[in-house]
Subunit: 353 residues, 4 copies
């Protein structure tokens, strides 16, 4: 279904995007333009006022003739997506809440529950700590029921999402003793602004220890899964634009048989519209791979038992801009509004690519 051809009988909600010129804003916009239940009202960008949105998102040429307006010109709307840099949403959340029936923030500003975590991980004092409790962590696989009751959803960290979904069934079953999450990530994670490290001759074909220790996303994993196990977290940048693979080396309290793992993962994800279990004996794509997921909202999950230890290697692949950001945000919108959770999110990804 393409923009402009949608069923006129369905009443559409008015949605606006604040900070729409970055990579996540562009993906939210793309998804909303093809969403059967909404109409995009405004897209703001302080630096791009008056420019067509397709100047920054060239894939949207001929799809829309929307132009950026200034954030100060934001009108009241039903649903507001915040796609600004970390730290911006928290400053003006009250103001935004006055404008919008519900808010989905894609930044990190409302992901963590305790204000002191922002001091620790983001090195600033949260300016609106009273809002932290009003936001639900925006991962429907873990907070569907709360999202249905809530008007406010936070974003999710892309590396956190992959790690979380990989190990959640083991954590929830109380099996984990120690996890080493070794995450491989593409270049779009770092956003649209060029840096020395993103310069093509330097970034190309790197296998770069971006954050061997100290990555912020581990705070989300711990918050969501509790402190019952020891978590080590490292992120390595690889040659890829979109995509995250989390390789979670899980040390269990007790050995577990493969069929019990299957049972655990099927129980956890068997009904999930965007989680697929990928574990084949043959073929090339035996385990989850981010390259298959570009543009899709799937999180593919697999695992392998190490016959020589109590280790289970749990694997999860996502498109960091989709399930790791814009896709989960739109999925949250669907849940919060009681719509089909797959609305606007059915693109299956490409092969080969």
């Amino acid at each position: 279904m393409s923009p402009g051809e949608q069923n006129p009988a369905v009443e559409r909600k008015k949605v606006s995007i604040l900070g729409g010129s970055g990579y996540v804003g562009g993906e939210v916009l793309r998804l909303l333009l093809f969403h059967p239940r909404v109409e995009v009202a405004q897209v703001t960008s302080a630096s791009q006022v008056g420019h067509y949105v397709h100047a920054s998102h060239p894939n949207l040429r001929s799809i829309t003739s929307l132009q950026y307006c200034h954030p100060a010109e934001l009108n009241p709307c039903d649903i507001l997506f915040l796609c600004q840099s970390h730290g911006e949403a928290a400053k003006k959340i009250g103001e935004y809440a006055d404008k919008a029936g519900s808010i989905i923030d894609c930044s990190a500003d409302f992901r963590l529950r305790r204000p002191e975590e922002y001091r620790t991980w983001y090195e600033w004092d949260h300016p609106s700590p009273s809002w932290l409790d009003r936001f639900v962590y925006g991962l429907p696989e873990r907070h569907r029921a709360e999202l249905r009751q809530s008007r406010y959803a936070s974003g999710v960290g892309c590396n956190a999402t992959a790690t979380l979904l990989a190990i959640a069934p083991l954590a929830d079953a109380g099996l984990l003793e120690r996890v080493v999450a070794d995450v491989k990530a593409g270049s779009s994670e770092a956003g649209a602004r060029p840096t020395e490290g993103s310069h093509h001759p330097e970034r190309s074909h790197c296998v770069r220890s971006f954050m061997p220790t100290g990555h912020r996303h581990q705070a989300e994993v711990i918050q969501e899964l509790g402190g019952g196990f020891d978590l080590s977290f490292s992120v390595t940048s690889v040659e890829l634009v979109r995509g995250v693979l989390a390789t979670a080396h899980c040390f269990l309290k007790e050995p577990i048989a493969e069929r019990d793992l299957w049972k655990l993962y099927r129980q956890a994800y068997g009904q999930e519209p965007f989680v697929r279990l990928v574990k084949q004996k043959t073929g090339i794509f035996r385990y989850p791979e981010p390259k298959l997921l570009a543009g899709s909202n799937f999180c593919d999950i697999g695992f392998e038992v190490d016959p020589q230890s109590k280790r289970v290697v749990a694997l999860a692949a996502i498109d960091n801009l989709m399930k790791g950001a814009a896709g989960s945000a739109v999925q949250c919108m669907n849940v919060m509004n009681g719509w089909d959770e797959k609305d606007g999110l059915t693109f299956p990804g490409l092969h080969p690519i």
Copy 2:
């Protein structure tokens, strides 16, 4: 709109795919599974009988539980897509025509009108020459009216499509004297079978003169645009999985002003649903680029006038598996059936990717 959730009120045509395990077959299948007017009945593969289609097309996991059947088991259907290797469809076209109301062939077997061209370019004698005239060359931008009347559409060569669409307005206006088409192409063009040249350490980051002379697709360009100008055609393989960029260096009989070129191209393509004119003064994506088109059916077209000569550089970018194969094939189906030409083809492509 996802498979299985489609409007039950619409009567769907039964469509089958012969030779569905290759890259083009996989893309046709993906498009049909999400198409609002059809239902996929059978997908055949002689070598994969009994396997799930998602074994060869892992992006379709959880999307469909179809399994390959043997070509001999093909049932009657409304529409049949032939996605076999070159030379296969021509052998049994009569048999296939008995089974299907209409046929869209993605191979080269019915692209050329004159049997002797097959001798010249494919080095075999066409086994069903009487069928050549019954097929319409499957590029709606050039044969829409005939497609509406026809039950048989041929495939298009991907490099031919990009070159054709880039220069057609100039050719049709009788302006061309000489064209040097320098085509850059990705690795999926060569299909799903591994070769020494497709081995990753060898193919990776190549800028390889695949066919500096003698490429078959030039026969299609000449057939479609006539012999009024001299055509040179070269294909270079570059690091890319999907995508073609045709750089057509056009030498004109007379110099032409840029505004007249705009007029010509707008006239030719202004109403086309899948052709976009891309020519910007600023920004990164000033000209057509295949990287933006992965999964989309757009052909982006641009041009530049060389101030120092009578040369116009005409540029066209496509996804070779979409507009250069499966996408054009589905677009043909839409035209032949009187459906909205964009049905099932609205994915706009991703940015960044």
Copy 3:
């Protein structure tokens, strides 16, 4: 110094290569052609008899006019490099030993000391178990003294080499309790033969869990560093032709201060000609990166202390075909012959690349 221009006063040893048409054979050949102390006598290949070596190694065009001869035509020589597939060298080692003063084997056939390990990891019974003790494990950083006394050196596993060198100082100091080695590897590791998995459209931009468990190279790590700690080993294929990054998550018995780590690593590697410690506070290349090492024999090593745990992340990067195969083999030759260890191995790698 180029071939043919070398100092005639130096007496050169006659060196031959058995199985020279693969990737490791090609690198050994390239290194030997520019080595100041040797002369390449013969290069064999059963399948390429009579072809120029530059037919398989196109970078050697104009460098040499050597042609492949049949393995059966091998003449006596001073030094013999065995670059065959795993399992070949072990079958005929006695025969080869009759021909050559000393042998350096690049395969896995003489890396493990205990014959039963071959049953476990390679699933065959070693045909020449009595030879296992005569070979020294070909990593000069760990066996320099023995190599000086030996006529036989084994190859090293590339993933093992990176992991070994990353963690050896910690292992030798008795600090390790548990290591999770998460290795990222390029496509040349798998050799020159095309497979479905190496087909460019499939292999390109993958982040593929090649061996999440069960990789053979862990046997070498355990053999070399002893069983004093628990080792988990996983290999993920990434988009890269040459290169390995080992991310070794090391859990220590006691916390250790960063300055003590520096001391340990400097002590271990301060005098090593091919190990560099890479750990910077600023810049892009703060940690070891394989992309800088293509063609060089360096192993770059770095580390980071996790402030929140007893974890040390030890990192090592190599070119798998150089320090992980051909480079270490030539370095062994230099040591065994009492030559300057850097002879023929001075290429520093390129930037940018």
Copy 4:
């Protein structure tokens, strides 16, 4: 031969590099550090004063402990390499000439003979027009004799070098009527400074019409080969860090037989140390490919006759930072000093890579 181990009996010339922190400066430095006839005295960088050169050129870690000094501190030296941005060298050439016995400039400042060409192509007035005649165009293949007599050599444009060497034998024989040079280029051409267009998510896998018309390097081609034919010139950026492939579509006055082309090219390049003719009937690398040339000073040249026209496709591949910049500069130094032309330039490139 590695730094520090060189023959003390050879007297070494003192060489300095002005503007050593960019990509070309880094390559000149790398080559000089391993050159048997010179000693690197100073490397300047206005922005990096006091930093180790390996901070910007991480491949030189452990190879040298040189630190950048300020350009104002430049001491007299035997040979001076200028590796600054275009426009810098021309401003102070007199000053530099007072310091150095001979000068090799890698910028564009002294490539063109006529001052008005700088107005046309670089949009500035040359500040030292009287110096233009004192510089020899730095391509030994075309100006060896003059270089031997000269103290001043200019740089060469990388795209110009590939195009020039591809078509020179045809141009010199007076055969050319029209040439369409379609050049494919890697990202290192644009230098070390990040831009929006070099941002990895945008630049990755592009096939981008960088300059379809108007590229400056064509001025060098015309200057060197005369105006006897019509030249069209286009540059497309492809996914590659190092490398240029020039596909020169040559329209001849008369058809020419393939054996006569062989004769022409062998005559032109048979004695050249850094030009190889690459034209094979079989194999993967049948034509010149830049991927094989990373780090090498070779220019590989091939050709193909179009059986259907008077077109000859002439092909040339280089590493833009080597034969297209630093390599040619060092080759010029060798020629100007009467040294072996291959000194310091023997690295053959890698395969696979």
